[in-house]
């Protein structure tokens, strides 16, 4: 696979992730992730440093394994969690996509994101950087790792998976 082909295939996954989240197609979104995926949003330490070890430091999100994503989705669609009633309308924008490295069956992509949301007549936004680690699964590419560098980390009331 050429560099251009890898970039195109990887970008497609990133765009598709936002597409599924914004359309609330949760099962399709979950299917993008591998069984052993890790979704990690490290927390900040001071102005420009972040934690490096999720086993000994606090993360904003550290979800290891597909089951962790599934249970979060089950919770926020259940209607039993007031934090997600009503679910916000969200709009993911992903840009500045760079192919950091690629080899047979795997690649790493950098990108910038902004997620605007609207809930209870209020607008808000989260923004930052993504680093996606993708692995080939037959014809498809799946997300084995998603690292979220959340810039505006002073959380206004709620932050859930659909916000990032």
């Amino acid at each position: 696979m050429s560099r251009a082909e890898a970039l195109a295939a990887g970008s497609e996954v990133l765009y598709r992730e936002g597409y599924y989240l914004d359309r609330q197609q949760w099962q399709d979104w979950l299917a993008l992730y591998t069984e052993d995926c890790v979704l990690w949003a490290p927390s900040w330490v001071g102005e420009h440093a972040q934690i490096t070890d999720p086993q000994s430091e606090i993360s904003l999100l550290y979800l290891a394994g597909h089951g962790r994503l599934l249970e979060r989705v089950e919770r926020f669609v259940s209607g039993a969690s007031p934090a997600s009633v009503p679910l916000p309308r969200t709009c993911h924008q992903v840009s500045n996509i760079l192919l950091l490295d690629h080899a047979e069956g795997r690649m790493t992509l950098h990108s910038s994101f902004r997620v605007d949301y609207f809930r209870n007549k209020q607008v808000g936004a989260f923004f930052g950087l993504y680093e996606h680690r993708l692995v080939a699964d037959g014809e498809a590419w799946r997300i084995a790792g998603k690292r979220i560098t959340l810039m505006n980390d002073f959380v206004p009331t709620v932050l859930d998976l659909y916000h990032v």
């Binding site: 927390s43 904003l60 980390d153 932050l159």
Partner: protein, 458 residues
């Protein structure tokens, strides 16, 4: 004192607190949560007159480490000097008033005001008035101290720093009273004391500051508000087995034969202690139980691995429900609050226990987790509902009131807690009457603050 205070009429704050336990009545006026003027008075009479929690020693372990914060509306720097001593300084250049530190935390030997270049050391001493020699200053100016003003009082209780703008405030130890027994139950978990696990995870909500203060002493809400957390934990156990990603099971909190005690303390503090709720083996601190029992006896060691909460009025919450968290509250306005959250843990905790602690913390306590956002959203719903101006009084504090008695219960006696009141029994009480102490403390502090401040009127 604000210039405006001189014209402030005396207020009778008792009209906001209807506490007549002897008649079976305990209710609060909704203006406590919705009146912006009352909020300003709380800042003036409670936050700027009483003790306020400003930080933990473990946040500033090294010489010249500092954190910034506020006492009420007054910006401060809590800094460890080159001599190792911790000082609370006003974050206010004595010249034109610019804040000299703007980051939440840092390490510096010098604070240089970027406006005109006045320089201060980490003890607040003014090192230079920039270009003073050529400045044509008067003798009257030269006779002034240009140092960063010190906060009137700073005292430490076992690593917890409290400050007060009131030089006449009572000694901290007296203020804490036997609510300190709860603090001890965390500090004593390790001979080396507590450390702050690295990583900021702070949040705001659109509600009054007293809502989170109330919430931490409330388990009545766990079964309903956190139902989705309970379901999630149940499914997790079903799918992944008991020992993978263990979480303290809130379902067993409520359903078990567990016991609970609530304690009121003077000055507005409240405590809650759950015994036999949840599997204690699921708590990270259980790894240290044997050591703790050898040092402090089994009764105290048992307390150290149980669910418990102490809310020190007005702005620090120490909460161990699913796991342990320290919260520092910063009221911003009548309907906005900032919460600074800290994962405190015993130093020397085994690595697997620490990792479990961190996962439980993120799960339950983070604003990015699966329990706290339900709380914060509910504060906003209460703030919305409390705008009902035809309603004066809530009915929020009667649960367990009939069971309240004066003095310690049996459990309190085993560990030396001496409360004003105890409410105890089966966990099914899920009592609320503990807020009697909170709001009596509120009233006491508002009245004393008003008397002190207005007593200073010329």
């Amino acid at each position: 004192m604000d210039a405006r205070v001189r014209e402030t009429p005396l207020r009778d704050f008792s009209r906001y607190v209807d506490a007549r336990p002897e008649d079976g009545v305990l209710r609060m006026h909704l203006d406590l949560f919705r009146d912006p003027e009352l909020f300003e008075l709380e800042m003036r009479y409670i936050y700027e007159r009483s003790w306020v929690f400003v930080g933990h020693a473990a946040q500033i372990p090294q010489p010249h480490d500092f954190i910034t914060g506020v006492i009420g509306r007054t910006p401060i720097i809590l800094q460890r000097g080159g001599d190792g001593q911790v000082r609370a300084l006003l974050n206010h250049c004595s010249h034109r008033g610019a804040a000299v530190a703007t980051t939440q935390a840092g390490n510096t030997q010098r604070h240089k005001c970027p406006y005109h270049g006045w320089m201060f050391d980490s003890a607040g001493k003014c090192l230079q008035v920039a270009d003073e020699a050529s400045g044509g200053y008067t003798e009257a100016f030269r006779s002034l101290s240009h140092d960063l003003p010190q906060v009137a009082r700073l005292e430490e209780y076992r690593g917890f720093f409290f400050a007060s703008l009131n030089p006449q405030v009572m000694p901290l130890r007296e203020y804490l009273g036997s609510a300190a027994v709860f603090i001890d139950s965390w500090v004593d978990q390790s001979p080396q004391g507590l450390e702050v696990v690295r990583g900021d995870a702070n949040f705001t909500y659109g509600g009054n500051w007293k809502m989170v203060f109330e919430n931490c002493l409330d388990i009545y809400h766990a079964k309903t508000l956190h139902a989705s957390f309970g379901t999630m934990v149940m499914n997790r156990v079903k799918r992944q087995g008991k020992d993978s990603n263990r979480s303290v099971d809130l379902n067993s909190f409520i359903n078990a034969d567990a016991e609970v005690s609530y304690y009121t303390f003077p000055h507005g503090h409240g405590g809650m202690w759950l015994r036999g709720a949840g599997r204690r083996e699921d708590r990270p601190s259980y790894a240290l139980w044997q050591q703790m029992a050898e040092r402090f006896g089994e009764a105290k060691a048992d307390m150290m691995v149980s669910g418990r909460v102490v809310a020190i009025f007005p702005n620090i919450l120490l909460v161990e429900s699913a796991t342990f968290q320290m919260r520092l509250l910063r009221p911003v306005s009548v309907d906005k609050t900032e919460v600074y959250a800290f994962c405190l843990a015993p130093k020397g905790e085994p690595a697997p226990a620490r990792a479990l602690r961190i996962r439980q913390y993120e799960d339950f306590f983070s604003a990015t987790g699966v329990a706290t956002p339900d709380d914060t959203v509910i504060y906003e719903r209460c703030q919305m509902g409390d705008q009902a101006r035809s309603i004066e009084w809530n009915q929020g504090y009667h649960r367990g009131l009939a069971l309240m008695r004066e003095g310690p219960d049996e459990a309190a006696q085993t560990v030396g807690i001496e409360p004003l009141h105890s409410i105890s029994g089966n966990i099914g009480i899920q009592g609320e009457a503990v807020y009697l102490g909170v709001y009596q403390g509120w009233l006491e502090q508002m009245q004393r603050g008003q008397t002190d401040v207005l007593g200073m009127r010329p």
